[in-house]
């Protein structure tokens, strides 16, 4: 009691002495920083060869663990790119021998625990997180998933459906497009470091691949296990030894990761995204390694240029001086064993993209030309050195870092070496590394935005501007057998068709074409009646549909321009409509039937009476001839590319000396979709381009 009175008197005196707040930051004096506690880690190797690190931390009743596996998606075979993605999700969802993935979901969520699997570029992980009282149950599931995942087929199917959707959605977001295309251009779009998963490569991945992948990479000496949290190390050590005693499989060590070899051509690449008001940009070139002698100086340089938030030059210039961006930053990209990417990233309103890029180039030039100021150097170094303590904010961080260094073969004290090296960096070092490592003439620039609104076009930057093709390749169908014989047979079948409809010369004389048809949709398709008018002067095409709620008109000039008009309004042709127009054009009958005269098309017999016509854009159609040489039916790619459509023809009548079908039954994916009845064909009616383009 007396003591506490004394204390409060002391406090009162202290308060009276320092009642006035200090006015300036310069007046502040700080005590030395409290001691950084480096937690004790118990490390050992199990008899089966698995490395283990345990870190006791009793602050909270939690246990967390992670198995780091030497594996990576850069090992994906080119023709199965996406294998690692299918693998990591299926490993978790596919369950174990005695529990399905659903049972595991239920079990874990009931106790608010998690087990998750992931495979990144150059490492894989299986992690868990649980309240202490459930750690045995969770550790058991973790063990079973690591050692013997079951990869049930139904869950592989779910995963593949999900990944297909992810492919379909990869162009939704402008910033996503920008970063993906940037890495792909720099690492090389066909290399393991730069290529993307496609429908086709995803489709090839089978359950056997997943099992083989697990067998090859998931073995004890290829795994580092780390666990931190509320446990007693000696008890857990014994438990792990027992638990993993039976897991004794051996494999050759995992191979080295493939080297980065691509040399990118400098230049500007534009990805068109018409629905955004901001242009996103990323520019740069290859970065370096964490172990580079100059890495600390490069980090200091990068902090001053654009790495240290609001304090950095790019932010000051482009955001606070010019008000051109909400975000702009740079990163000196490094990897442990393969080079990262040096990049400058930002976004600005469409009209100021060129101004923003010029300002960015200006800052790069400035840091390469003149020494930074003493103040800038001091801020950059102080920022790193004074915030160093945050590397030790939690024991788990220390453990994580230890694993990362061990996995990558870096020294344990790498971080302390780095700290020392940063403290020694001089202004001259910063200028030297900026000059030596930043090469604006090698910059690859990716811009995603609506170029129609760019105040100045990118060509003003005096560099070549290439358009990025964002088209997502559709899965190729299993190619039919094709050789000289089948191709000759194909031409023969096509010639028979040409003869039956009136002769190749008649077909070759067609200059323009149009038809008007009544389409009645089956009830499953909406049950309505639609009038459809198609007009073609190759390569231009126009469709008009009269729907109950108004007209929809699509016009494509066949050279990349066109428009779409609906009752809601008019707009430039969206990419997927342009693709649809190109597909329709590919199938317009007089020219389709003369495909043997088109050097870009392949004609190949795939059956006794069936000929397949295809082109390099992955368009295809199969024609099946009736006995009389006319078409019985055609099969082609359906609306969304996932199901096949079929049209069975009838009612052939003469039009200007050509026989043309006037009736068709359309089905999609085997289900009836529509009845089509052509009211009128016009061939060589003197159709004019102006009529096609009329709005």
């Amino acid at each position: 009691m007396i003591l506490s009175i004394l204390l409060s008197v002391a406090t009162a005196i202290a308060t009276a002495q320092t009642a006035a707040p200090k006015k300036s930051v310069k007046d502040l004096k700080f005590k030395p920083l409290g001691e950084i506690k480096i937690p004790e880690i118990s490390s050992f190797t199990l008899p089966n060869g698995m490395r283990v690190h345990l870190l006791e931390n009793h602050e909270l009743p939690l246990v967390r663990g992670n198995a780091t596996i030497r594996v990576g998606n850069v090992f994906d075979p080119a023709d199965k790119t996406g294998l690692a993605d299918v693998f990591d999700q299926s490993l978790r969802l596919g369950g174990t021998k005695d529990k399905t993935g659903d049972q595991i979901n239920q079990l874990l969520e009931n106790i608010a625990a998690s087990v998750e699997s992931g495979v990144g570029e150059t490492s894989g992980s299986l992690s868990f997180n649980t309240l202490r009282e459930h750690s045995d149950v969770v550790l058991g599931i973790f063990h079973d998933l690591l050692v013997a995942p079951e990869f049930r087929q139904d869950k592989i199917d779910v995963v593949k459906t999900q990944l297909r959707s992810a492919i379909a959605r990869r162009n939704d977001n402008a910033s996503g497009i920008t970063s993906r295309e940037f890495s792909s251009l720099l690492y090389g779009p066909t290399t393991p470091w730069g290529r993307d998963m496609e429908y086709e490569t995803l489709e090839r991945v089978s359950r056997d691949d997943l099992i083989a992948y697990h067998k090859r990479f998931y073995f004890p000496s290829n795994v580092i296990l780390s666990i931190s949290g509320d446990f007693v190390s000696s008890t857990l050590h014994a438990k792990l030894e027992k638990m993993f005693a039976d897991w004794t499989v051996k494999q050759n060590p995992a191979p080295a990761f493939p080297p980065v070899t691509h040399k990118a051509k400098p230049g500007i690449h534009l990805a068109e995204k018409p629905d955004v008001t901001q242009a996103f940009f990323r520019l740069g070139h290859m970065g370096g390694l964490l172990s580079d002698k100059d890495y600390p100086a490069l980090e200091v340089m990068n902090d001053i240029l654009g790495g240290n938030g609001f304090s950095s030059r790019l932010m000051q210039k482009v955001r606070s001086d010019m008000g051109l961006a909400y975000n702009v930053s740079s990163s000196w990209g490094v990897g442990f064993h393969h080079p990262g990417l040096f990049s400058i990233t930002g976004g600005t309103k469409s009209s100021s993209i060129v101004d923003a890029l010029k300002a960015v180039y200006g800052e790069v030039e400035r840091i390469r030309t003149n020494e930074v100021t003493d103040e800038e150097l001091q801020i950059a170094k102080d920022s790193t050195l004074n915030s160093f303590v945050f590397n030790f904010a939690s024991p788990a961080q220390t453990l994580g870092r230890l694993i990362t260094y061990e996995y990558n073969g870096y020294p344990k004290d790498f971080l302390f070496q780095y700290q020392k090296a940063v403290a020694a960096v001089t202004k001259a070092d910063v200028l030297r590394v900026a000059k030596q490592y930043l090469k604006p003439e090698e910059f690859v620039v990716v811009v995603t935005g609506n170029s129609k609104d760019f105040g100045t076009q990118l060509t003003a930057l005096n560099q070549p501007v290439a358009k990025i093709d964002l088209t997502i390749p559709e899965p190729k169908r299993a190619a039919a057998k094709m050789d000289a014989g089948s191709m000759a047979k194909g031409k023969q079948l096509l010639a028979e068709l040409q003869k039956a409809v009136g002769g190749a010369d008649k077909l070759a004389a067609v200059q323009d074409y149009s038809h008007t048809a009544d389409v009645s949709l089956t009830s499953g398709q909406g049950g309505m009646k639609v009038t459809q008018i198609t007009q073609v002067i190759p390569p231009a095409i126009r469709f008009e549909q009269v729907l109950p709620f108004g007209r929809v008109i699509i016009f494509s000039d066949g050279k990349g321009s066109g428009w779409l008009k609906t009752p809601q309004g008019e707009m430039p042709m969206p990419a997927q409509v342009a693709k649809q127009a190109a597909e329709e054009l590919f199938r317009v009958q007089p020219w389709l039937w003369l495909s043997d005269r088109d050097p870009n098309r392949t004609v190949n017999a795939t059956g006794a009476r069936t000929v397949e016509i295809s082109d390099k854009s992955n368009n295809w159609i199969k024609l099946t001839l009736a006995e009389n040489g006319l078409l019985e039916k055609v099969n082609f790619k359906g609306g969304d590319g996932s199901v096949e459509a079929e049209a069975v023809y009838s009612d052939w009548k003469d039009v200007n000396g050509l026989k043309l079908p006037h009736g068709a039954k359309l089905s999609q994916g085997g289900k009836p979709a529509a009845d089509i009845s052509v009211k009128e064909y016009r061939i060589n009616s003197g159709l004019k381009m102006e009529e096609l383009g009329k709005k």
């Binding site: 030395p32 506690k37 602050e59 979901n105």
Partner: protein
């Protein structure tokens, strides 16, 4: 098998007992006090590492923006990083003179603009020139980013701020020996904010809108969901209308500051390796001199009753996406706990949305249910987000989702599901205790929202009391058409079901 069941039973009981103990244990680490001016402090002592996280939360958000000035609270948030009268300028008196010149010139310009067709274009052009010149003059005295540089130089990390519809939050972390820096800077900024570079920062905020809302399909959808669901309540505009932002005035930001940034309308939380007695002393020294002020006005406008379902679409060059929101009462309402259990029952890999829509029917790529889409101070939205799988439409997804919702309104959830959700809520809190910044944020927001940080613990007891009947009742009460707003993301030119084939 039998022994296993016993084990399970005791395991699910343990955390329930823990929850009450947790609060008592936790309270020992907390020091809480009010300054005489009404400023509230919460100090969480966590000596694990010599670092500290600081959170300042002000009970003002975009819902408090005056009409025609949407985005103002957010704009003011940006100004807090512009420094003080001694930091960020090389001549405050001269700068101040030009800043006031900027305002008076801007006033003249607005007077001219307000004349409408009778305004003089020539005069406006002249004034615009003068305004630009005055802004340049004032900017001439600015020491760029002095505030953020000093924080960064002292090892500060993660400095940022956010403005939601109901609250403004400022935060960063420091090595704990440098905490006095935070006291000094924060007290100066919150005593007298300076409208330094206001009009340049306005362009930055305009860019933020372009980036996060106009050029981001999901941002567009969130914007439209709020403005469609709420016709009257001012929380409907999150970042503000583009034209409002482009015309915001420094003077208005100062007025907003004077009204809402009064000590009793704010809370400051420090979490980390700091001595509470010393913090109390520093708080008095640095913040004691800030004058008290009256409580700011409350929001009067209530959202009128919704009559009928609302439905709208956003066009973007992106794959389909569906947001569905059902109006629900504010977080302090008695139905808040059953609603969060309802959302929990539907979420996760064991939840009905994932199982039925993603795994069984394969119509969705991702599903998401949240008991509230935005904060909790006002009426909110119980929100579903469904991302259609490739080749599936928004309609397919909404139909499948509706079947589930109808079931939730007819059938009681079973006990296992209730237990699961309750366990997850408890575990969520335990996990949050692991981070200084996470805890500081939770302490601050619980204090602002409920007037007591203890609510983050007592809420667990409320959730524990929720029964299957409660869940059924709230599903029936709130998941109805008269509360519903559906927003679809559509690709330009995408047609409705049915006319797809006609295009062939």
């Amino acid at each position: 098998m039998k022994s296993r069941w016993l084990l399970w039973a005791c395991c699910t009981l343990i955390p329930a007992i823990l929850a009450a103990q947790d609060l008592q244990e936790f309270e020992k680490k907390i020091t809480e006090f009010d300054l005489p001016n009404g400023l509230h402090f919460i100090v969480l002592r966590r000596p694990q590492a010599p670092v500290v996280s600081m959170v300042t939360q002000v009970n003002v958000g975009s819902a408090n923006d005056p009409a025609g000035k949407t985005g103002l609270a957010h704009m003011l948030e940006h100004m807090a990083f512009k420094g003080t009268d001694s930091l960020g300028t090389n001549n405050w008196l001269a700068e101040k003179k030009w800043l006031s010149d900027v305002e008076s010139t801007y006033d003249k310009l607005e007077i001219e603009k307000n004349k409408g067709p009778r305004g003089s274009a020539e005069a406006m052009k002249k004034l615009e020139g003068e305004l630009k010149a005055a802004i340049e003059k004032a900017n001439g005295y600015v020491v760029k980013e002095a505030y953020s540089k000093i924080v960064s130089q002292n090892g500060g990390v993660g400095m940022n701020a956010s403005t939601s519809n109901e609250v403004t939050t400022y935060f960063y972390s420091l090595p704990s020996n440098r905490i006095e820096l935070w006291f000094l800077l924060t007290s100066q900024v919150f005593r007298q904010p300076i409208m330094r570079e206001f009009y340049k920062e306005r362009d930055v905020v305009r860019e933020e809108r372009r980036r996060s809302f106009e050029s981001n399909p999901q941002g567009k959808m969130q914007d439209v969901l709020l403005t469609t669901a709420f016709l009257a309540h001012p929380q409907r505009t999150l970042i503000g209308w583009a034209s409002d932002i482009e015309n915001l005035r420094a003077r208005d930001a100062e007025a907003l500051f004077k009204t809402y940034y009064v000590p009793s309308n704010m809370v400051m939380v420090l979490a980390g390796d700091v001595d509470p007695a010393e913090m109390k002393r520093l708080a008095q020294v640095y913040f004691g001199g800030i004058p008290a002020g009256p409580a700011p006005p409350r929001i009067i406008t209530e959202e009128p009753k919704q009559e009928g379902e609302r439905r709208t679409a956003v066009e973007a060059q992106a794959q389909p996406f569906v947001y569905i929101g059902y109006k629900r009462p504010e977080a302090g309402h008695a139905d808040a706990a059953p609603l969060s259990v309802l959302a929990g029952a539907m979420s996760g890999r064991a939840g009905i949305l994932y199982k039925e829509l993603v795994e069984e029917k394969k119509v969705s790529l991702v599903t998401f249910a949240a008991d509230s889409f935005i904060g909790g101070k006002f009426q909110g939205l119980f929100t579903f987000i469904v991302v259609p799988a490739a080749g599936k439409t928004g309609d397919d997804n909404e139909k499948a989702l509706n079947l589930i919702i109808e079931r939730m309104k007819k059938e009681k959830v079973d006990q296992a599901i209730l237990d699961r959700v309750k366990t997850q809520v408890r575990a969520g809190l335990v996990r949050a205790l692991d981070s200084n910044m996470g805890m500081a944020q939770r302490l601050a927001s619980n204090y602002i929202l409920y007037g007591d940080w203890r609510r983050m613990f007592t809420r667990i007891q409320e959730v524990d009391k929720v029964t299957a009947d409660d869940v059924l009742r709230v599903a029936k009460t709130y998941l109805i058409d008269n509360n519903k707003t559906a927003v679809y993301l559509k690709t330009p030119g995408e047609k409705k079901d049915g006319d797809k084939e006609a295009a062939k």
